[in-house]
Amino acid sequence: MMRDVTDFKNYRDVLVEAVVTLARKHPEIVWLDADVSSCIGSAAFQKEFPQRFFNCGIAEANMVAAAAGMASAGLTPFIHSFACFASRRAYDQLFISCGYTHQSVHVIGSDPGIVAQYNGGTHMPFEDIALFRQIPGFVIVEPSDATSLYELTQQVYENGTSSYIRTPRKGISFRYKASDSIELGKAVTLKEGDDVTIVATGVLMVDGALEAASILEKKGIRATVIDNHTIRPFDGKTIEKAARRTGHVLVCENGRYAGGVGEMVASYLARTCPVKMDFVCVADRYGEVGNLAYLKESFGFTGKDIAEKAEKLLEK
């Protein structure tokens, strides 16, 4: 049984609760933040474990390397910043001090891609997935709802190696029930259909993929929808199985094509089961400010956009 988190109001509260619950059992867990503690709500961790909470100030690179030092001395740090700063801003430190040294550090990058909304282009990372994919050994998860966010946060800790947890802060959705099963590295087939496979990662894209599947269904097109919540280790087998059945795969991510989930799936299928493919993602473009509805339209991330791409893919 997974934890029932339906009484929570935001993803960030679920995430912090997951880490606090772990920290009650594991005294070596510490939390580091970079002056965005109040944005993620880690005050709950600080209140319960004041000696194990470190606000590093606005200095993300230092925070990451300091966390690696803590890990080398026997602690297990969870560190948080907005996804742009938790990836780009501290990349050499992530690569060398955490990755190259094999130190276990769990990095929480909040509000990835267009979820950054009103913080705009400076705060809108699409490339964070690609960056973490270049660091050998890092587990990468992007849960698609609150239940899986809680569960996967616990599982990346139990797994032991460093991880990147990519999540929105605000809002909440419950795709999975506590009685369902979520396993790190195991994609979930949410809907089965024989015409096209839609592989989606993250809340935004899994929501969009399911909406697209409904639109397609009305047109007589039956889609398989896969929640690819774990980017590494990649569950190629589940996707390959669906690809063999449908012959068409559309990969959707709130991220950049280069080095992203789409390229990863394409590379895997090119070697195992070449099929017709297309991608819902960001190509050569920077982020911009706006509300989520505007940004979804602007970047072609709506359920309607996904359905249209899937339909065109079938015509290829």
């Binding site: 070596e28 510490v30 000696q51 194990r52 470190f54 590093c56 100030g57 200095a59 690179a61 230092n62 925070m63 990451v64 390397a65 300091a66 966390a67 690696a68 030092g69 803590m70 890990a71 080398s72 001395a73 026997g74 602690l75 050499d92 430190q93 060398i96 001090s97 190259y100 040294t101 094999h102």
Partner: protein, 280 residues
Amino acid sequence: MLDTKTLAMLRKEALDARIKTIGCISSFGSGHIGGAMSVMDLLVYLYFKEMKVRPQEPLWDQRDRLVLSKGHAGPALYAVLAKKGYFPESWLTTLNQGGTRLPSHVDMLKTPGVDFTAGSLGQGVSAAVGIAAAQRVLGYTDSWTYAIVGDGESQEGEVWEAAEDAAAWKLDNFIAFTDVNGQQLDDYTDNIVPMHQLRQRYETFGFDTYEINGHDFNAIDEAVQMAKGVRGKPHMIIMNTIKSYGYIPGEGIKSNHSMSINEETRTEAVRALVEREENA
């Protein structure tokens, strides 16, 4: 003041460690001799006089830890660690060979006794601050964290980010040293980006500070012992040193960051060093 016997022991160990470092680098043919030799006296002091370590149990959790943030000075640390018994001295002639346990830049996964990996400058200081904080969290009240940072390395902004946190967190178990040898890869530091008034900078950051001759064991000891008595602040000991000190062909020249050393130059350099020490 160190007693006569301890002082003689440190001088003897430092001479031997310098000879071994020159041998280590000459076995490969070239290496970062300048920055290795400038921190040698400090390393010998720390490992032979001050640090609480167990060479037969290098991962002992309550040990004192050292982060050599200027990671290219690895050969100096390797000579000291080998002499302390962390690994056989025969390893010293494997520097940078394929499959070696002794890479040019220190690597905690490869070399017993290396407490943190360094080479991408600035990061080791941050890691050391993290280690000092961890010692607090874990309740290791009698454990110290030492960090050695270069003056050229201090051009990295991360060094100052780390200093901010060390001061903010009042890490009085953190003792850092800046090796002010006045030179960096391209030129004299003054000709690149001058790093003046480092002591004042750290003082302003909230550190307990000292400025000493980094080749004077008594001065190193005095600063470290005083630092250990000051609570509530991290400590910075600015060490004025000579780049390549003890590898005489590299002393006082501009291009001594990395030098070629063959068997002939090694033999002559060791002979000259021993002669100078005997006449000191």
